[in-house]
Symmetry: C2
Subunit: 137 residues, 2 copies
DNA sequence: AATCAATACGTTATAGCATAACGCTGCTGC
DNA sequence: GCAGCAGCGTTATGCTATAACGTATTGATT
């Protein structure tokens, strides 16, 4: 069941390399991590990675984790362009669990309605320990 | 009703300077912003600011906004040590609205319960436009 | 008072994350 | 052809954060 990722066919070479790297990573990677992993493929400068990441994030194929300054491949084929996504990040093993919750999203909508705030984008990141790491401890 | 902040008496000089700066700022400040504002008070190095910020955040007197790499003074005398706090950040004027929502928190607890994840800390940041900025546009 | 541990401080250097600005390449549509 | 656009490669720079060192201050212990 691992690597059940979709790889669109209309990516540029750099985008494909970056997304491929994220797809095979067991944990979030920083742009510089990605760069180091792709030097053998000819990449040399941070901008090459950042530009690819921008496009991938824009299309919902990858996500940025603000609290880590790092990136993950989208784990859910259906998540693209949906609203709120939450990430549970394990401090032990680094694994990230991506999920959506309609109740939270609706609750946020209610809050926005009463305050007149127009939500454009929400980041929700939960730090802690996953079940597996808790069991091991 | 502005500046209704509490300033504890047991802060060190640097902590007091940093918190005072945050209290008077209309929008989040980066550590380097704070440093520049406090050079006249004798501060010279980023670490002086970061160390003060660490303590202030630890005590709940200030909050770090992950999506901005910036800091705000806590707006709520009662928020310290409570669970989940959400921030609505206006992209127009920079103002930050801090709020808590028991339903979201409870919902998160439910999710954690079913997955076996142990939540240690949650960051929730909403980007968008505040009512005032929408009206002005 | 002398000792010790804990916390904060100041400074220099370095690491890690992100973008500006330039010019070039290779498409697509007219 | 050629204009417009997206992507590319490179160099330089800026912003964010911490490592490592030694000193100073405080407060409790003896
Ligand atoms: Zn996703
Ligand atoms: Zn884990
Ligand atoms: Zn607060
Ligand atoms: Zn506003």
């Amino acid at each position: 069941m691992a690597h059940d990722h979709v790889m669109p066919t209309d990516l540029t070479r750099n985008q494909e390399l970056v997304l491929g790297t994220l797809n095979h990573a067991p944990a979030p990677l920083s742009a510089y991590d990605i760069l180091d992993l792709l030097r053998s493929e000819g990449l040399r400068a941070p901008l090459q990675v950042y530009r690819a990441l921008d496009k991938l994030v824009e299309r919902g194929l990858a996500h940025r984790l603000e609290s880590l300054n790092a990136f993950v491949a989208c784990a859910d084929e259906h998540c693209h362009r949906k609203g709120l996504i939450a990430f549970a990040i394990c401090e032990g093993c680094g694994k990230v669990d991506e999920f959506a919750d309609a109740v939270i999203e609706e609750r946020l909508g209610t809050w926005a309605g009463t305050t007149g705030f127009k939500v454009e984008r929400t980041t929700m990141e939960i730090r802690g320990k996953c079940a597996e790491c808790l069991k091991a401890a």
